[in-house]
Assembly symmetry: C2
Homo-oligomer: 401 residues x 2
């Protein structure tokens, strides 16, 4: 594997245990000193970071006593997972927009390529104690986005999060759970089976090391990863002061699309969404509305992120899947999996990666090659950047009175 | 009565029968020729308007055969009504914003002063075939606006319109129905009793002369009067192509506040409102939201409309009502009516007029004198104009996360 060396990876894995996610002071030290020197400085094995206060260093040293990043990496490997660092080809460079609050690394379970899925992803978040209306809308959105070839990102919580994940899974689509605990921690307990399904068919990500437990502040910090990872955040039901609104506001600060699904004004669970809409979030009512906003092809590959991989550099499994797509017409994932000699889940994972690269398109249950004009040569056309339209006028689309 | 003379009034009354409401060509001729000469020109008793086409003149002459404005004025007088013209002190000068589409005059039933009520009015409109949610929200808004001292304007149609009127009436408040037919026509038939109540407790207005019947185009044209008369229009439930959206868009064109109440995205009856919100209308969830938008005191009396009447020029009934307000604390309308020796309905009508002038305030069921700083001397402070704030941040008001 290219990218960061073993020492860098080990040091960053250690940092996920030494510091809290999103700690911008540690992020700045990391930028200034590099990971290995910073870990030495925080554990007492080297000069401490400039200006580090005694109590902070004491806290790190306390944590250092149980530090064993080699064991953590082994734990993940045993679960079929991995630890991603900036510089890895699979690193989702969208997270770099977080600046010094960028995750030190990402603990990952699931076979799909995180970077490629994230390129074409939307977050669907909302209230834990949602109404039937909220879970209905979240499931429809999850399914609709998956059917249109988008990865559905959420936090695996009860309520809206779970409904969005389930909707995407039910549509045989791509979904990513970003946890506020370790990727090996089944939290919430009632979602153990859902998390297993996401691990099998999609991706489970976390900043926290294995066995890391969720805390209130970690939920809030996790939200910034959801916001940064995706092209936009849709809020489905939220009360006035809710974590979902925090995610949406972070998304806006990061220049992502911020969207809200309205609901009855008689429902306190829609009050937060209405608040968000008044702050300028876009009102969306279905998956078409969402993809219309986030889906400008030119936006798929943001600027300054380099070209997406050319066809002859595709990973072998992805190349096999691409080969299995018929020259004309489409094929369903089962047939593609059979022709590519892969499991269905793995084939679907590759298909979404290929779609992010512009090699294939999903239409309903069928995957097909795109029309010739869109076929990428070496670098797909989607790396060019077209400006985001200044506004939308659905009235023109739908022909309002 | 000051204002236009008898000939002018008679000619304008005739015009409401000769031409369709909102006919801008006729409006231009009216501006160029004056009402009496225009009526002569359209009825063949004088030179026709410059550039008038033969078929239009023929149509007017056909209508002229049954023309009897004296009878129309008598009919209204017999019903206890009147015919208002531009120049009358009771003329709602907001309508002048319609330019050449300004009504030729207004046929009115009900005792309150149209100009004063309109100064502090909000339109609540929406679907005829609304859901329980829509009628619930409309009734709450109607009642809430009335309780806050605002006149609720609507079209007396089934559904949202009726619920809004009823909500205002139930709160003992002010409501105005603007009809697309004559003020003596009980349309829709099922609202006969509601219209009678509005006539008794509020105002019924129309551009059409007595016995005028509603047509499709007259509904659309009526909507411009609702939009122009009020400080803003709230849409509660509307399908994609609906008259309520036309009203709201007219309101926006006229610089009025355009507001929408969101609803479930699973309801086709909220789809039009969501469309409107995406076009930039303000999202409102209750009467507080509405009054926050439309209620800047400085906006009450728009510029270039002259001072509102000073206290010693109040009509005798209004002066009696003002006398009946206790110096400290408040009083309910029944007590005020008793002290002023007026019927309760008449006392309420005067109270809303006095409120528009800044002399009194409604708080819940109580009417009181405003705090000293707000008491008008000769012309109320509300004639000064403060600029509309650039935006609102309800999060600051409600303290969002």
């Amino acid at each position: 594997m290219t990218g960061p060396g073993a020492e860098e990876r080990l040091a960053r894995a250690a940092l996920t245990r030494l510091a809290e996610p999103g700690d911008e002071t540690v992020g700045r030290w990391l930028r200034e000193m590099g990971a290995p020197a910073l870990v030495r400085g925080l554990t007492g094995a080297g000069p401490p970071p400039k200006g580090a206060r005694a109590e902070r260093l004491a806290g790190c040293r306390a944590r250092a006593e149980t530090l064993d990043p080699v064991l953590d990496l082994k734990t993940l490997a045993r679960l079929g997972g991995r630890f991603l660092c900036p510089g890895d080809t699979e690193w989702p460079t969208q997270l770099d927009d977080l600046g010094d609050a960028r995750p030190f690394g990402l603990w990952v379970r699931g076979s799909p390529d995180v970077r490629l899925w994230a390129l074409r992803s939307v977050a669907v978040v909302g209230a834990r104690a949602c109404t039937d209306y909220g879970s209905h809308v979240a499931a429809l959105l999850g399914a609709g986005l998956a059917e249109r070839g988008w990865a559905v990102v959420s936090g695996a919580a009860y309520g809206v999060d779970g409904a969005a994940h389930r909707g995407a899974l039910a549509a045989g689509g791509a979904t990513m759970a970003v946890l506020a605990c370790g990727v090996d921690v089944p939290y919430p307990r009632g979602h153990t089976e859902l998390l297993e399904r996401i691990t099998r068919q999609g991706l489970v990500l976390a900043e926290l090391p294995p066995a890391g437990h969720p805390t209130r502040s970690r939920f809030v910090l996790r939200n910034r990863v959801i916001a940064a990872l995706t092209r936009g955040t849709v809020v489905v039901e939220a009360e006035y002061r809710s974590g979902s609104l925090v995610t949406a506001r972070r998304a806006r600060e990061l220049g992502r699309h911020t969207m809200g699904v309205p609901g009855p004004v008689t429902s306190g669970l829609s009050a937060g969404v209405h608040e968000l809409l008044r702050e300028g979030a876009e009102l969306v009512t279905d998956a078409d509305d969402v993809t219309e906003l986030v889906g400008g092809m030119g936006e798929l590959a943001p600027p300054r992120r380099g070209p997406v991989v050319p066809r002859d550099l595709l990973a072998p499994a992805a190349a096999k899947v691409l080969e299995a797509i018929p020259g004309t017409g489409g094929a369903d994932p089962s047939r593609i999996a059979r022709d590519a000699c892969l499991s269905r889940d793995h084939a679907v994972a590759r298909l979404y990666e290929l779609q992010a690269l512009g090699f294939v398109e999903r239409q309903g249950d069928q995957w097909r090659l795109p029309a010739p004009a869109h076929t990428p040569a070496t670098a797909p056309a989607s790396t060019s950047v077209t400006p985001k339209p200044p506004g939308r006028h659905p009235g023109m689309r739908r022909g309002g009175a």
